[in-house]
């Protein structure tokens, strides 16, 4: 019975989403190698604590195997079984954290920080550059070539080098429209530019000349 007289008993996971879910998932050798280390971090009775690291492992394995870093439902079931949890408890965690993608994404996950410092320093330009360079219309979409998924994220904690774009796990900082387009172009060519400030400044050192500690004795 899917509807009955209720009519509205619609399925949250609609047909399109159902189709993209794989039928099967199993940890590969690489993941299995890492699992004992993760489980060893928690007491036996609190094995459920390992749910986030294991989901992370799933996402990493999916990136390796399919080029799309996401967590399918069957994989959540595998994690639940591995940790002796009810599957729904894993679904709750996986859907709570934005860093877990519960639907397939593009090869590169472009995460634009839109929080105040980045916004003041031009994150809207970065986002516009992402849209222009990839053809994506709005946040949450994947480009037609399947290369990029664009999302807006909250503060990435790199405000000193705002605006920031996180590509998968790497931070690219001090971006503007042109440098963002250049970054995306090189990603498209299969290159991985060195993460960090694109203007070349060291860590969060001042962008230009030194402005403090000018009278250091002995200098």
């Amino acid at each position: 019975m899917s509807g009955g007289e209720n009519g509205g008993a619609t399925h949250a996971v609609d047909e399109a989403e159902r189709r993209e879910q794989p039928a099967h998932f199993a940890f590969d050798e690489e993941s299995e190698r890492r699992i004992p280390d993760i489980l060893a971090r928690y007491p036996e009775a609190k094995r459920a604590s390992a749910v986030i690291p294991l989901l992370w492992l799933v996402q990493d394995q999916m990136r390796r195997q399919t080029g799309s870093a996401w967590v399918p439902k069957v994989a959540m079931d595998v994690v639940a079984a591995r940790l002796g949890m009810a599957p729904i408890r894993v679904y709750e965690v996986a859907t709570f954290y934005f860093m877990f993608n519960t639907r397939p994404i593009g090869r590169y996950h472009l995460q634009v920080c839109g929080t105040t410092p980045c916004m003041l320093r031009g994150s809207e330009e970065v986002a516009r550059a992402c849209r222009d360079a990839t053809g994506i219309k709005a946040y949450g979409e994947t480009s037609a070539d399947g290369m990029f998924t664009l999302t807006e994220v909250e503060c990435l904690g790199a405000c000193v080098n705002a605006p920031v774009l996180q590509v998968d796990l790497d931070y690219y900082e001090d971006l503007d429209y042109e440098s963002t387009v250049r970054l995306i172009e090189s990603l498209r060519r299969g290159e991985r530019p060195k993460p960090g400030s694109v203007t070349g400044r060291q860590a969060s050192a001042p962008a230009g000349e030194r402005t403090t500690l000018l009278d250091v004795p002995g200098e």
Binding site: M1, G8, A9, A12, I88, Y91, F96
Partner: protein, 689 residues
């Protein structure tokens, strides 16, 4: 104890109590949505805010432990203001669809909005809307109404023991559901409707049927399982529209099984609403005098010992005693109420009762279940076992029966048949040691385990095990028989078993009687009745046995008569007439009484009071309505039967399909739908995965 002052009233509450409990002890009503006294504390709705002296902010009273000397105000301007703020937030995303909401009139949010709501909204943005979820054929969901109190999540995890509901997403995107859109695998799902403080989870069969103020409410007792859940029958005109549980901490707390709650549409279908008499091989409509005359012609021509009577599983004590007296007047001792052939020993009450009592389960510290799946046979009782199992102190549970059963709490599978019982009896099995070491061990013997050829041996073996492992003590009785339906214990209490020289059901079906009076007896295959036997079927549903009858006497279902029932613990409870029986159907004892007068053997009671006096005379326990005296197990002498005679065949559970186990639920479309969705063994399959 902590001394707390609430609005100037000084109360003493135990240490560890919450501020909310202290306020209730002082007689103050605290509004709440997420807090439920039978569930864990969530503290997320914030409606129960109170002012605590010297605290800078209002506190959530449900999640705040008391301390000695606290001064609390529940009705200060600060409190009222804070609650108004909370209410405004709750209403931001709650739709204004009360006029079409089935919860209307009995909605916590609606009620509280009268006290703390504003008459307008300051929220100008778009309200969120949430897709409805599918959680099974019994629950209708309108998830936009959900206020995220998480009561349903906690109920399914803690009470029902099926952690399948959860909150996915976060913030504005948070949604309550199963994520995978499947029906909840529980027999207690109807309780989600009661527990939901808003109209997010409502009854699917009852959708748009009625408003609470249109209903006549009759307190009664459920008979569709042997727990004797206290219920309220809500009716309008001649129709029972819904059944809700009533709170009784000693029996059902405030829960009710799905069959007991949702089988009510079966009360309207396949009903026997007029007498029928078989003429020339076909049943034809008849009048009461014609039906009585047809029976009288046949019965008065027979000697008493060629007449037999069988009491059904849902029969009330009044009808049973009337039928027993009628049979005595006709000179027959051929009585039986054990349609399943259960080898029950009715000679002593504690041989066939759930002696520990349902509330007593919480005091037990070890449990052995033999040939029973309480989850299906008595879901509410199973919830009590689960409550004990998760209460913290160790509670080892052993289970003997079919392997694939999910009891909702951990249990050691000790074996499938009597062999495991034999191993325990020898003391060789480690679980026997567990039982012996326990202070208050208990054993639940399923009725299915004694309804077999070697039933008497199994019964005796279980009793002996109870004696050997110290389950019988002066202040503790750990031997329990779990019955299946509400009329079974009452019949045993009234001695509706073969009298001196009387024949049991098997003998009666073997052709030892020429006439058989079936009082709602649908529990056995009527094809077993020899063709030459004259069958009188008195009952309310045209189920299995009615088709075989030569005369049908239309009786009343449990919602249609004042009846007395005894639950599996031996607790005598009363149900009351909520609606009148349909058509020409009558209360069962009146039918028997009228018939007795027609054949000149008038039964000596004219009214209910007289009949109930007769009940007390037959068994004084019928004078103790509603109360239950806890029994000790002082007398160790066991029931008749030789434990050595146990066979080898594994135990078979008596109820394969929870949703269609009796005449009423077999007539119910709702239950048929449940049986289709869940399949007969869906719950068991879940366990196997």
């Amino acid at each position: 104890m902590a001394k707390v002052t609430v609005d100037g009233i000084e109360v003493e509450v135990p240490n560890g109590a919450t501020v909310l409990q202290a306020c209730e002890a002082a007689g103050k009503e605290i509004p709440r949505f997420c807090y439920h006294e039978r569930l864990s504390i969530a503290g997320n709705c914030r409606m129960c805010l109170v002012e605590l002296e010297k605290a800078p902010k209002p506190i959530a009273s449900c999640a705040y432990p008391v301390a000695d000397g606290m001064v609390i105000r529940t009705d200060s301007p600060m409190v009222r203001n804070a609650r108004r703020g909370v209410m405004e937030f709750l209403l931001i995303n709650h739709p204004l669809d009360c006029p079409i909401c089935d919860q209307g009139g009995e909605c916590d949010l609606q009620d509280q909005a009268y006290a703390y709501g504003m008459d307008r909204s300051r929220f100008r943005e778009a309200k969120r809307s949430v897709k409805d979820k599918y959680v099974g054929p019994l629950i209708k969901t309108i998830m936009t109404r959900c206020i995220h109190c998480t009561r349903c999540i906690r109920f399914s995890q803690e009470v029902a023991g099926v952690p399948e509901l959860g909150a996915t997403g976060r913030g504005e995107a948070m949604e309550v559901g199963t994520y995978v859109e499947q029906a909840l695998h529980t027999e207690l799902s109807g309780n989600l409707i009661d527990i939901c403080p808003v109209g997010a989870l409502t009854s699917r069969p009852y959708a748009y049927v009625s408003r609470p103020w249109e209903l006549r409410k009759t307190d009664s007792v459920d008979v569709l399982d042997a727990v004797g859940c206290n219920i309220r029958v809500d009716s309008r005109g001649p129709e029972v529209l819904r059944i809700l549980p009533r709170t009784n901490d000693e029996v059902n707390e405030e829960w009710l099984g799905d069959r007991s709650r949702f089988a009510i549409d079966g009360l309207k279908r396949r009903r026997l609403d007029r007498p029928w008499v078989r003429k020339d091989g076909r049943l034809a409509p008849a009048t009461w005098p014609e039906a009585f005359a047809a029976i009288a012609r046949r019965l008065t021509a027979l000697p008493g010992h060629r007449i037999g009577a069988v009491a059904g599983d849902l029969a009330d004590a009044e009808a049973i005693i009337a039928l027993k007296d009628l049979m005595a007047a006709l000179g027959s001792a051929n009585l039986d109420c054990r349609q399943d052939g259960a080898a029950l020993d009715a000679s002593r009450r504690d041989f066939y009762l759930f002696n520990t009592s349902i509330a007593g389960i919480e005091e037990a510290d070890a449990l052995l279940i033999v040939g029973s799946n309480p989850r299906v046979e008595a879901p509410v009782l199973n919830a009590r076992i689960r409550k004990r199992a998760i209460a913290g102190k160790p509670f080892p549970v052993g289970y003997i029966g079919p392997r694939v059963v999910n009891l909702t709490y951990p249990a050691d599978h000790l074996g499938e048949g009597p062999a495991a019982l034999r191993a325990l009896l020898g003391g060789a099995h480690p679980f026997a040691e567990t039982l012996r070491k326990a202070e208050r061990p208990m054993l639940i013997l399923g009725r299915g385990a004694v309804a077999r050829a070697d039933g008497a041996a199994v019964l005796a073996a279980a009793w002996r095990l109870a004696v050997e492992t110290g389950m019988l003590k002066p202040d503790w009785h750990g031997f329990n028989l779990l019955h299946l339906f509400g009329g079974q214990v009452g019949a045993l209490d009234l001695g509706f078993v073969p009298g001196e020289g009387g024949k049991d059901l098997a003998a009666m079906l073997a052709g030892d009687v020429d006439a058989l009076w079936l009082l709602g007896a649908d529990g056995f295959d009527p094809a077993r009745i020899p063709p030459s036997t004259f069958v009188i079927y008195q009952g309310h549903h045209g189920d299995r046995a009615a088709a075989r009858a030569d005369v049908i006497l239309p009786g009343a279902a449990y919602t249609e008569k004042d009846g007395t029932y005894v639950n599996t613990e031996g607790r005598v409870q009363r149900g009351y007439l909520a609606v009148h029986p349909p058509g020409e159907a009558r209360e069962d004892w009146r039918i028997i009484r009228a018939f007795s007068e027609g054949i000149g053997r008038r039964l000596p009671y004219d009214d209910l009071a007289g009949l109930r006096a007769r009940l007390v005379e037959a068994n004084p326990v019928f004078g103790t309505v509603g109360t239950l005296e806890r029994r000790g197990g002082a007398d160790l002498r066991g029931p008749a039967g030789d434990p050595a005679a146990m066979g080898e065949s594994p135990f078979v559970l008596p109820i394969a399909n929870y949703y269609q186990a009796d005449a009423i639920s077999r007539a119910s479309d709702t239950m048929a739908e449940c049986a289709r969705v869940y399949g007969s063994g869906a719950h068991a399959r879940l366990a196997a995965e």
